[in-house]
């Protein structure tokens, strides 16, 4: 599969959805009410104001405890893994790809005085992990 960067589609407040660059997200992170990360074949959406996920256009998913979060803001991260051999021949992995990029997308806030995060960890080829903590 040819790797491509996803499109970031955000709704700011109650405005129309718009395509943003990754570098715009940081400045807008406290204003984003909905964010979708979209590749040609799959999409992952998080609605911050109503606190739910939608994976690939399916049903709304609300993890246990998400509804308790107060002052929720978007949580997003580009996660990069680079691998190197030890005691090997110094060659990169097949195709020269020794770097993998995936994305974390969700909400963070406080519930009952404790910081909480709920997120999905996704990659272009469809791997999905649902986590309750970014770490």
């Amino acid at each position: 599969m040819q790797k491509s960067s996803p499109a970031w589609i955000a709704r700011i407040g109650s405005g129309e959805a718009q395509v943003l660059q990754f570098e715009q997200l940081y400045e807008l992170r406290e204003k984003i009410t909905e964010l979708t990360i979209a590749w040609p074949c799959n999409t992952y959406k998080v609605n911050v104001s109503e606190k739910y996920f939608i994976l690939n256009g399916g049903m709304k998913i609300r993890m246990k405890g998400m509804e308790d979060i107060e002052d929720a803001i978007i949580l997003y991260t580009r996660r990069v893994r680079k691998t190197l051999p030890i005691n090997g021949d110094g060659q990169l992995l097949e195709g020269g790809e020794n770097e993998e990029i995936s994305y974390l997308l969700g909400i963070q806030g406080n519930a009952f005085g404790t910081k909480r995060e709920y997120l999905v960890h996704v990659s272009q080829d469809g791997m999905i992990w649902v986590w309750r903590d970014k770490r």
Binding site: Q21, T77, R79, T83, L84, N87, G88
Partner: protein, 177 residues
């Protein structure tokens, strides 16, 4: 575009140290240099035997549109055929009680490292295990910048069999916002 980050290895005494950017492997051996051929610089199997330390750090040359880089993790993600008798890797990576490593006056050593005194993790750590600016919760907001040093050392014993050890894979992970 993701940030441009490469692995850098520092070698030599502090006064004359040389850094190599974008190393292609973390091969341990009996020489203090990057990207070595292990067969050329074998480690003697002996009681309390050690390779030269590897002093590695991440070098961020371009933020690539990211605002923050943090949550650095390093671990052995593939042991290949596993460990030989008496073989192991020590490191200074830890998720709590972290202390930033300072480059030593004499440079990397091939005696038992007093800095790499932790067991190298063989699975993704539960949190950052390498700091930025001396803190596991540190971050990089502008390039150029470095992480703290990761110090690794291969350990062997008198029982370690002669010949090549199994190839392993080390993973470096970071988050970008």
């Amino acid at each position: 575009m993701a940030a441009t980050i490469v692995l850098a290895e520092m070698n030599g005494p502090d006064a004359t140290k040389i850094e190599t950017l974008d190393i292609s492997n973390v091969n341990f051996g009996s020489d203090d240099s990057p990207d070595i051929v292990p067969a050329t610089y074998p480690i003697t199997a002996e009681a309390d035997g050690h390779s030269f330390e590897k002093w590695l750090r991440l070098y961020v040359s371009n933020m690539g549109g990211s605002s923050l880089i943090d949550n650095l993790k390093i671990w052995l993600s593939n042991l290949g055929g596993g460990w030989k008798t008496g073989e192991g890797i020590s490191c200074n990576l830890r998720t709590s009680g972290y202390v930033q490593a300072s480059y030593q006056t004499g440079g990397p050593v091939d005696t038992n490292s007093t800095i790499a005194d932790q067991v190298m993790p063989e699975a993704e750590p539960g949190g950052a295990n390498l700091g930025i600016g001396g803190s596991l919760s540190g971050s990089i907001a502008a390039a150029p910048a470095y992480s703290d040093y990761a110090v690794l050392q291969l350990d062997v014993s008198a029982s370690t069999p002669a010949g090549a050890v199994n190839q392993k894979t080390i993973t470096f992970q970071w988050d970008e916002q």
